[in-house]
């Protein structure tokens, strides 16, 4: 099961890439855990996760081909 992950804003600065694929991640919480273990700088940050462009809660299930986006606090306008 593959998902596509997108990173934006400050998070895109911390991670080595802005877009990549991951295998075997079945919930948003699991994604958060794996990323924070690998990139400890993420731990101190507030960010939301969107699944297929909808804000998800922390244990939303992911499906094959889900597009998952890491969204730091917005600053538009």
């Amino acid at each position: 099961m593959k998902i596509k992950v997108l990173a934006f804003g400050k998070i895109a600065d911390i991670l080595p890439q802005q877009e990549w694929e991951m295998d075997g991640v079945v919930t948003t919480g699991m994604l958060r855990g794996q990323l924070e273990a690998k990139y400890p700088d993420l731990k101190g940050l507030r960010y939301l996760i969107a699944v297929d462009k909808k804000i998800a809660n922390d244990d939303s299930p992911l499906e094959d081909r889900s597009e998952v986006a890491l969204l730091p606090p917005f600053s538009g306008g």
């Binding site: 997108l6 804003g9 969107a50 462009k53 969204l71 600053s75 538009g76």
Partner: protein
Amino acid sequence: MEKQTVNTEEKPSHRRKKVFVEGPISPAFVGDSIAKHSTMMNIGAHSIFLGQVRKDVIEGQEVVAIEYSAYTEMAEEKFHEIREDTFAKYPLTCMHIYHSLGKVDAGEICLFVFTSAIHRREAIDACNEVVERIKQEVPVWGKEIFDNDQYVWKENK
């Protein structure tokens, strides 16, 4: 600047409208948008919000520009949702939203929200609500750039 043309076919519709423009929104574009409503005789009030990039001083450094980026597809969905919700809530004649992407220098316009109605109250209330919702809900990020090319990520309050 061709991206800044106003769509003159005005209906509270379900069409997706283009919101993002590359770079700053020019005062002339705002003026033209106002002028295009002069044929709509049922409008009695316009409310306009213009967001301008501020030359903030952050830890002794002056902000010279903000560079905007977005999760474009989700942002466009959100703008559409805000637009539809606002038309459902207020009796508006029309509404336009434009937001910059890319670099906007201090002193330039980065957000233009324009609501029109028969009477002022609904135009003003709708405009305020749209602006607040954009700040809270739309996935757009601004990088505040200093004159030495360093930057910090802005956060909406």
